[in-house]
Point group: C2
Chain length 125, copies 2
DNA sequence: ACTATGTATAAATAATACTTTATATAATAG
DNA sequence: CTATTATATAAAGTATTATTTATACATAGT
């Protein structure tokens, strides 16, 4: 029963639903989500952890980055994710997605000349 | 989104899942549930209200009693209820159902002679 | 090696949700 | 009309969860 409770609890928080909606578009690293939702990073990490613990998302480490994506290994959870995606109107997350796109584009630009990836979300210019 | 959050939140609490499992068997009044779960009445009322607010159960007033039953008017919530019933093992609620049966039987007995219903859950004998 | 970046984690605080105890309301029985 | 029963609601206390701020850790760039 505890597992089931954790499952539902993971979905009963706004930030986490916004994250799920963002991840609909595919894998993202933490800094992408931070930029898109305009929230502080530990907060995002906290909620990503809740979603991960509940089995809704998986992570993959690549260098400094940790990429999160939807975990579709469990049928029931997959269905719940689907229900969320279907029910949370795009309007509500339009700004998130807009900021995400802008941020991703900005990242692209910073990968210049060589194949070396430059800074992702620099705090100081 | 708030509605969706409330929906999931309603299902992320043990007592409420136990109530849902009890109501699987059909309509029950508050005192039945109190007896079955062996919890104080205001607690049960609190959780019944959460389930009702979220649209998982309905109530029906009859005399002093208020009977609660599963509300199956919404497809998605119906599915969620089903998922809960399916996933919460009967073992976990065996004692609840046992106490419920005992209590219902006791109630039956108290309806004697005339059609007048006698006390339901008398505190003092 | 040194610095900057991405992310996690810990500690303190704030906000929510749950529980308890007491009381109110409504209905029925006597 | 009074006492009793079923349930709800309110107020106070407790516990859980989320947020913030600070710091730690790992990796990459120089």
């Amino acid at each position: 029963m505890d597992e089931l409770i954790k499952t539902f609890k993971a979905l009963s928080e706004e930030t986490r639903l916004r994250v799920i909606k963002l991840l609909e578009g595919g894998e993202l690293c933490v800094c992408d989500i931070v930029a898109a939702l305009e929230l502080v990073q530990p907060k995002i990490s906290f909620h990503l952890n809740a979603l991960k613990e509940a089995g809704f998302i998986k992570d993959r480490k690549q260098g400094k980055w940790i990429h999160y994506r939807i975990d579709d290994s469990d049928m029931f959870k997959r269905f719940l994710i689907f229900s969320v995606l279907e029910r949370v109107s795009d309007d509500l997350v339009a700004e998130d997605k807009q900021r995400l796109d802008a941020f991703l584009k900005l990242k692209e630009k910073k990968v210049i000349g060589t194949k070396t990836k430059k800074k992702c979300c620099g705090r100081k210019p």
